[in-house]
Symmetry: C2
Subunit: 199 residues, 2 copies
C-alpha cells in the first residue's frame, strides 16, 4: 500500500496530531501505539517507519502539543490587549480547559508523567515549555499594581496548573466551579463587572 509523498506527509501529521490529543487525554501509559494509529486512520504497521519508538513519539507529540497551544495562546491574547493577564487566566483556568485535556496545555495533562519518565529528551521538552510559560507571564503587564502586587511568574504558573489538575479531579462536583472562580479571582482580581461593588 504505497502512497504519494504528500499523502505520506499528511499521514505523519495525522499521527502527530492524534497522538498529541490522545496522549494528553490518557497519559503516556494510558494508550498504546496501535490505538493511536487506528485513531489516525492507519494500522499499526507503518508506525516504526515514522518514529523510532513510542518514547520518540511522546517527545514529538509533546512538542506538537506545545506548539499548538502556544499558537492558540498568542492569538487569544492578541485579541484582548486590555487585560492580558485576566485573559490568560480566564482561558486557562476554565471549565472548557478542564473538560478537554486532549487539546489543552500539556502541563496539567502530562507533567506528572514527564516527571516520572527518565527520558532526558522528554524532560527537556517539558522544561522548555515551563520556561516558555514563565517568560510569557513575566512579560505580561502587571495587572495588579495595587494591593496584591505583581507576583513571581512561578507562583502564578503553579497556581494555574494546580487549579486545572484539581478541577479535573472534582470535575462534575459543584466544588469544581467554585474552585475555578476562586483561582481566577485570586490571580486576576475580582471580575470587572463586579468591580464597582468592591472597596
Amino acid at each position: 500500500m504505497r502512497v504519494s509523498r504528500v499523502k505520506a506527509l499528511e499521514n505523519r501529521e495525522q499521527i502527530l496530531e492524534t497522538a498529541a490529543r490522545l496522549l494528553r487525554k490518557h497519559g503516556f501509559e494510558g494508550i498504546g501505539v496501535a490505538d493511536i494509529m487506528k485513531a489516525a486512520g492507519l494500522t499499526h504497521g507503518g508506525f516504526y517507519r515514522n518514529f523510532a519508538s513510542k518514547d520518540d513519539l511522546a517527545v514529538k507529540a509533546s512538542e506538537r502539543a506545545i506548539a499548538n497551544t502556544t499558537a492558540l495562546l498568542k492569538n487569544g491574547l492578541a485579541q484582548k490587549p486590555k487585560d492580558p493577564l485576566r485573559a490568560l487566566i480566564e482561558g486557562y483556568v476554565s471549565s472548557a480547559h478542564r473538560d478537554d485535556p486532549g487539546s489543552g496545555c500539556i502541563l496539567p495533562a502530562l507533567a506528572v508523567d514527564a516527571a516520572r519518565s527518565d527520558d532526558p529528551a522528554l524532560r527537556a521538552v517539558f522544561i522548555t515549555a515551563i520556561q516558555g510559560y514563565l517568560d510569557q507571564i513575566a512579560k505580561l503587564p502587571s495587572a495588579n499594581p495595587g494591593a496584591a502586587g505583581s507576583r513571581h511568574p512561578a507562583a502564578i504558573l503553579s497556581e494555574m496548573v494546580g487549579a486545572v489538575i484539581l478541577s479535573r479531579v472534582i470535575a462534575d462536583d459543584p466544588l469544581a466551579e467554585s474552585l475555578i472562580a476562586a483561582v481566577v479571582a485570586d490571580i486576576a482580581g475580582p471580575s470587572p463587572e463586579n468591580k464597582s461593588a468592591e472597596e
Copy 2:
C-alpha cells in the same frame, strides 16, 4: 503456606504501605500487582485474598497514603504553632517533598491519574482529600492579614500542588530551587530572617 492471624494482618499492612509508596512513585499504571507484592516480601498469589482487584487496592492504598500524610501534617503543625501557614508551605513546597513522592501528598503524585480514572470510589477518595485540605487551610489563622490579604484556600492549595508537580519535572535543574523559593515566599510572605530588610 498458612500463617498466623497476626502475621496475616501484618502482611496486609505491608501490602498497603508498600502499595501506597510505589503507586505514588510510579502512578497507577506504572507498576503491577506482582511487583508490589514482591516489594512487600510476598508473591503475587495471595493478592486476591486481600483485595478484590487492583482498582480496589488503589482505593485502599490512596486512603492509607492520605491517612499517613495527614497524621504527619498535624504533628508537624502542632510543633510550630507560631506561623502554621508558613510551616505548612515550607514543608509541602520543598525539595524533600519534591524528591520523595512515594511518601508525600497524593495530590501532586496521583491526582492526574485519579482524574483519568472512571472509578467513582477512587475519585471520591481524592475529592475527600481535597476537601480535607481546603478545610485545614481555611482553619489556619491568616498569616498575612496585611497587604496580601487572606486568600481563598482553593487558590493556596492549587499553588501548592502545582508547585510540587512543576518542581518534579525540572528536578535537578537549578530552576527548581528558585521555583520553590518563589512559591514559598508568595504564599507565606518573605522569610522571617529577611523580614527586617523588607519595606
